[in-house]
Symmetry: C2
Subunit: 501 residues, 2 copies
Amino acid sequence: MSTGHVVTALRLGIETPNEAHIFMHKDFHVCRAEGFAARSSLVVSHGRKSIIATLYHVTSDLVGPDQAGLSEWAWKELQLGENGQVAVSHAPPLESLGRIRGKVRGNRLDATALRDIIDDVGAGRYSSIHLSAFITACAARALDYDEIRDLTRAMIDAGERIVWNGKPIVDKHSIGGLPGNRTTPIVVAIAAACGLTIPKTSSRAITSPAGTAATMETMAPVDLDLATMRRVVEKEGGCIAWGGAMGLSPTDDIMIRVERVLDLDGEGQLVASILSKKLAAGATHLVLDLPVGPTAKVRSYEAAQLLSDSLVEVGRSFGLVSKAIITDGTQPVGRGIGPALEARDVLAVLQGHAMAPADLRAHALTLAGALLELGGATPDGGGVKLAAECLASGKAWAKFQKICEAQGGMRTPPVASYQRVVTARTSGLVERIDSRKLSRVAKLAGAPDDKAAGVELHLRLGAPVSRGEPAYTVHAESPGELDYALTYVASNPDIIGLARA
Amino acid sequence: MSTGHVVTALRLGIETPNEAHIFMHKDFHVCRAEGFAARSSLVVSHGRKSIIATLYHVTSDLVGPDQAGLSEWAWKELQLGENGQVAVSHAPPLESLGRIRGKVRGNRLDATALRDIIDDVGAGRYSSIHLSAFITACAARALDYDEIRDLTRAMIDAGERIVWNGKPIVDKHSIGGLPGNRTTPIVVAIAAACGLTIPKTSSRAITSPAGTAATMETMAPVDLDLATMRRVVEKEGGCIAWGGAMGLSPTDDIMIRVERVLDLDGEGQLVASILSKKLAAGATHLVLDLPVGPTAKVRSYEAAQLLSDSLVEVGRSFGLVSKAIITDGTQPVGRGIGPALEARDVLAVLQGHAMAPADLRAHALTLAGALLELGGATPDGGGVKLAAECLASGKAWAKFQKICEAQGGMRTPPVASYQRVVTARTSGLVERIDSRKLSRVAKLAGAPDDKAAGVELHLRLGAPVSRGEPAYTVHAESPGELDYALTYVASNPDIIGLARA
């Protein structure tokens, strides 16, 4: 009983990110004898590896009578070969669920409870139903300061932590939701050129048409292991790497997937999410970018202020010196939406082109200036000036090229084979740009998988435009994807809102 | 765009009760072009039928490059033939989720919000992640009286409703968790024999080793359609039918599956669950049985009293006259655990055997007595006496046989081919009986699928027992299942707790 029934594992090739599913025939005598009901939690073991999986019954010949089909995540976690065997048994009761039920009833979560919950999340013992309950309970019964701090600590401890020699280690974070907000490569280049240490790790896009790692990848390799990242940072003072494989706050990645489905993350969980990632990466000084706008993640200045206060205060308890900057998030930043198009904007700013997007440049200088002050590269009040000089002198551009070389060699962002200009239907002043719909167009065109695909915006809020003038250009790598995007454009005439001039 | 991409549907035979899953190859150009990310909600349409399904990416040849694999629930809801085609597109935003986010923040749910949520649940638009958030939010931000009433009404309106001629229509409901608590057939027989109308619908077991419908099925058919049920009730005054296919409060079934995984249902949701089922079945007078015990659903008398008050008060707003009876739930009722073994206890009580389980008889008379008073068959205070006379005179037994005949013919419960007696390891007084572990033994032995399988208990709390005396007998239909059960018994010596006499 204790070791379970041994059955032949079958690789089904179904992706269930961060959650294991097991598929067994409903008439399999083991299911019946053990009372393995639909959605039972089972322990599935192979050698020394062991995971918790949610059971689905199968009534077809998808799995044989003595087989257990496994999803990809389960297969990989168990490190199964092509014809492995696994032992299955009832999962022990999930004790930490009792703490969540307590939170639902109004009890506080102490440090031990949060550690137990996060340990179970990290070990894959929580199904998406459990994760949803945890996230909802922590939003309905708002986490207090101590709970946020203890949650942050448990999330850090659940993963790897990078320790750097020396201080300060500076970092920046933008709270998402704004297309084209690709300030990171510029900020890193300026900070490193001014002598600060900035080992930046970024995520790939999950639901957006780009993401810093995807954009950076069109200019240099980003898939660095920790040793390579250290070498780059020691040599150049900074890097822009993909953090996804480094195991930093892995339970954050697990919870974010469920938060996205619910479009719900309580303030406490958002703070713990951001701080756990940054602290695990070794940051000591952090600048936070909080864009506020109707389609951004933070939609009011009051909400931004509360979030900012909480981030700075909880960060302080970990010795993190941080500053939050509330910025304008009413329209996309720069011209490009999509990895290569956003990289083109970044390069234009770094190279000092006359036609470089002024908003991206200004936004990057604001953040870099704050970081230079926070990291001690310049007295307070001198940050933006120093950042602007660093950019104007070409030092930031030179540093960026060296970072790219150190990461494995600089690349030229690709250009899409198929492009189509979308023109203004009437004349007037641009009074609204729907960032979410523009992101959708970019994704339909192939971004972020097709690096060259996306949208190039030719208008800004308040600009006058005449009927027939270019509004934006859709870039795609195949005629089919261009068509998908243009069909969507045709049925959504409200992407750019015009007022009579 | 609006009608979606047409792809070939593939029946995978994966059961996902009350929730649709769709499986598409990750490299399928439609997934990439449309940005169908993992766990996206998609509209899947076939002819006039349309459902919302959660997307899983596949990386194997489980589904072809232009196919969409569908789970059984999706396949059946869409009424697909063997080689159907379906159209897939992004699901529209789930507007009612905004009301749940509002509840999380502390807003009340008004009648419209609850109707919108329950409509979406009933239409299969909520994934288990959404359901978990709704259930958790309603438990963390407790529903007030108006919210419970409005939720109950929305749940009733989401399904079928049976209308009976004449009044009163009496009913009983036991809040679960206690093995062997099979009073229903006895209560129905007594009530009908005394002239009341009691059209009882019951569920099959989901996690327990029996269930009223499964137990009744060993004595008569229970899978009645509405017309047959009406005929039985018109003729005999009562029935004991399976309610699962009648579409009464179907959203309750959907939510209960998630509540079980979380082991969480707020008082408000429990009240709405019970009342919506009973009101949809047409009840006007209801007796509620609330067993209280350490392994029962309700674990304290205070909790039972609060629940009872809420049930009676909300029921009143629908014109339902109800009475809650708080009973002892510290040990299994009767001797049998498992469909046929519980049926044997029921028959012994109805037939007036000298050896019939006294606790089952007493419990059934208490409930029947309350129902007789509530339904007006006798003045207050005379119920138990009338019930006992009805049982002693053989009238209840005669009525039960007639009901079985009307339902399709009386059957004799089967007897298991394999039986093994488990004896006491030491001598002493029985001070504890672990109902949950005994249920587990019964399920390992094959209950409820093998109708004859289960456990027959030979001891009661407080009874003296000598080493080597029979404690309980395990019944099974195969040697393998008997072995599973006995292996579990061997590794769990604490099922019966003895104190030195």
